[in-house]
Amino acid sequence: MTTTGTPVYAQLGMTEEEYLKVVEILGREPRPAELAMYSVMWSEHCSYKSSRAHLRRFPTEAPWVVVGPGENAGVVDIGDGWLAAIRIESHNHPSFVEPYQGAATGVGGILRDVFTMGARPVALWDQIRFGPLDQPRNRYLFGGVVSGIAGYGNAVGVPTVGGEVEFDDCYSGNPLVNVMCLGVLRKEQLVLGTAGAPGNVAVLLGAATGRDGIGGASVLASASFDESATTKRPSVQVGDPFEEKKLIEACLELYEKGLVDGIQDLGAAGLSCATSEPAGRAGLGMDVDLDRVHLRETGMTAPEILMSESQERMLAFVRPEKVDDVLEVARRWEIDASVIGTVRADDRLVVTHHGEVVADIPAASLSGDAPLYHRPIARPDWIDGLWADPYRPGDVLVVDTLLRLLRHPGVGSAAWAYEQYDHMLFLDTVVGPGHDGTLLRVEGTKKGLAVSTDGNGRLCLLDPRRGASRLVWEAALNVAVTGARPIAAVDNLNLGNPEKPEVMWQLVEVIEGMSEACEALGIPVVGGNVSLYNETDRRDINPTPVVGVLGLADPMPAPPPRLDRARPGMEIWLIGPEPTDNFAGSCLERLDGPPRGRPTAADPEAGRAVIEEALRLAHVAPVLHDVSDGGLAVAVAEICIASGVGATLEVEGTAALFGEDPHRFVAVVEPGWDPPALGRRIGAMGGDSLVVGGERVAVSALADAYRNAIPEAMRG
């Protein structure tokens, strides 16, 4: 089976060994459609073949976990009959090819992962990383991605309530676009991605199938970029938020009326995945008739239909007697629906096209028998050199340093991005973008759900284990300062080429660090995503895991702490351990040059104590703000800017002001309060300037630097 000398399996990105494994499973040479299905399902993106063995390390259990990793989204019990569903996903490679559509379809995909579970999606977050904005190409990518997220999220009608924006050289040829979605549902509405029982009918709902992304997301995200990437582009997927909105409402009605046994979204690997996975999970098979799939283009071949990554499609599994009701719901919401198959009692997935069998394979083998690699792992030798040579800033000019930090697009306000996102829809965003964690109220209850996501490629480059652990602690504290107790984590592991032993080492270390922190916090990992091959011209990105922590506030503090609630006369307190003079991976170090040194490790005992204190103070203090990027000076400046009030800080020294050691937060309180054991008073609010270390700067100057950081950089 060769065309231009290269065997077809190789053109589809398969190795010879993998091909031989298919032959072994089938006991014969695969038909073209079968080969297509195995190739997409066994791609890195869909099969996690390099990472799967290591992901088992994550703690995934807790009494409140309803659905852990393995389904479309993780689901946790938040009490009184309510569940929360959460998932994070990357769209890095598609966003590089076409930033608007890449980001837009990323949003569409993560929404489907959540409403597949029976949940109404209530909020989105985006974590996006680009090369420096002094390069026009990076401005184009950043602008395109933000409009793509806005264009899709706003129109589909789910608020985008937070996220992260970061800039670093290592993302210039490979931006990172991660998106996360939270959904809420009643217990009895939970639906799983299962085919249910033999005789069930498979109904394909939503957009027509075209040649979008053939060999797209899955193959694209499983190979590196090089010069030829621009010429070998698959046909780009185009998102249609209007179709998705109708699909959400139609599916929620199907669940409410109990019309489906199971449902699966069509994402990467399209129909191949949506038919085989639910059948495999149920231990069953399926007959699929491709002639009944509603198509957008003529002349599509069976492999094309099976691999198509057309957006806004769902496959519902329905008892025969309920099919008419399902079609009626679809008709009312003005979406297309086709009956395309029937669940079989045996384990075969049998696909026909033009009356001919084009595939006849064990359904479970597409995911169950996927290759599992134990790739070589090696600690990079350059890391000791970095550790040996830490950055030592000595004394710095406080105001000048503070302004330079605030002007950095990675530290300055992200309002340029989030003011393009509708973050207020649904009237539940109690603490929105621009604060630490996002806090959403759960309508009809006294509960609040808080979410924070954190990533930091510099920390994780220097020490992937310590770095990843600190991300979990930081996200957990961000959630706690809104008054919510951390209950679960999701993660998106963005790394380089796993065929390099150093990258595999980073992967394993990151997983270890995250696992340690989650165990210390007692929170399970309920889902995630792995994005490998983030490299350009052989240069890997910094290992950039992104951690999302979900917290539950019950009851929610009303009003909760917010950055804009500080008033003149209030006292400023700092809670948490004294900082060391370690600047490895910090923003101050970034002003000076590349990362070096070894970051401070998290301290689980201190971390837990500080989180408990935050949970208590959230019901008392008008402002709680965690100390992270840029250290204490930036944290206090952000409070001054948001509240429009000056402050006097009785703190001196570079480490105390700009150090980023973990487990610290600022509380702004009325004088005469009941002081916490872990805290000390460091100043007071008042006036219209920030006074610190014998220097003074107007709040308006701080605000200017902070608010103009990104707009200025975008003007080029």
Binding site: A155, A415, E419, L427
Partner: protein, 216 residues
């Protein structure tokens, strides 16, 4: 007081509007855009969102929906008709309000609080407000830039600064009779101090008060 809250495919603020109207004691009900009858309703709201995905022009396809016939009849009968954001766009496209809405001057979606000033209190939306009253309300739109070559629109609420290039800084526009009003910022999003502002209440109150049956 029964209020029809119309849902087009792609509408997304309908539940928020229902929540806010309930807060004020009205009795809102979701009505699908294919309905052809609104008898029994005292007023109608076209909520925000992206009806028909904003295909072609924002509001263009929705303006031809079956529901717009009874909406037109209500408007002609002097009943309160309110369009918020996308609803404003639909009212313009259907000719119930003059002008049209085009993309924001800076070509970016805007989601933030803006300050607006009530300049005319003789409409169903502004009946409970004072002229000169300043309100802080979220703006949330891409096509919020109102143009009216005919210059027949009555501007009833004005932006204090100029966020999007709208003609006469118009944030809300009424027909001559004052019973049909379109507003670009979202009063229903400013109905709870926990979320940042209650300034939208005075507008929705005016609307709810105007629902009283007209004397024959």
């Amino acid at each position: 007081m029964r209020v029809a809250v119309v849902v087009f495919p792609g509408t997304n603020c309908e539940r928020d509007v229902v929540r806010a109207l309930r807060l004020l004691g009205a009795d809102p009900e979701l009505v699908w855009h294919r309905e052809t009858d609104l008898s029994g309703f005292d007023g109608v709201v076209l909520p925000g969102g992206f009806a028909h995905g904003d295909a072609l022009r924002t509001g263009a396809i929705a303006a031809l929906s079956p529901i717009m016939e009874p909406v037109r009849k209500m408007a002609e009968a002097g009943r309160p008709v309110l369009g918020i954001c996308n609803g404003f766009q639909i009212l313009c496209e259907s000719g119930l309000l003059p002008g049209a809405l085009i993309p924001n001057r800076d070509l970016a979606f805007i989601c933030r609080y803006v300050e607006v000033e009530v300049v005319d209190d003789t409409t169903v939306l502004t009946a409970a407000a004072e002229p000169g009253q300043v309100l802080r309300i979220p703006l949330n739109s891409y096509e919020g830039n109102w143009v009216d070559p005919s210059r027949t629109g009555r501007v009833v609420v004005r932006y204090r600064d100029d966020p999007n290039g709208s003609q006469d800084r118009a944030a809300a526009v009424a027909n001559a009779a004052g019973n049909v009003v379109g507003i670009m910022p979202h009063p229903e999003r400013a109905t709870d101090s926990l979320l940042g502002s209650e300034d939208g209440l005075v507008l929705l109150e005016g609307f709810v008060c105007s629902l009283q049956p007209v004397r024959a």
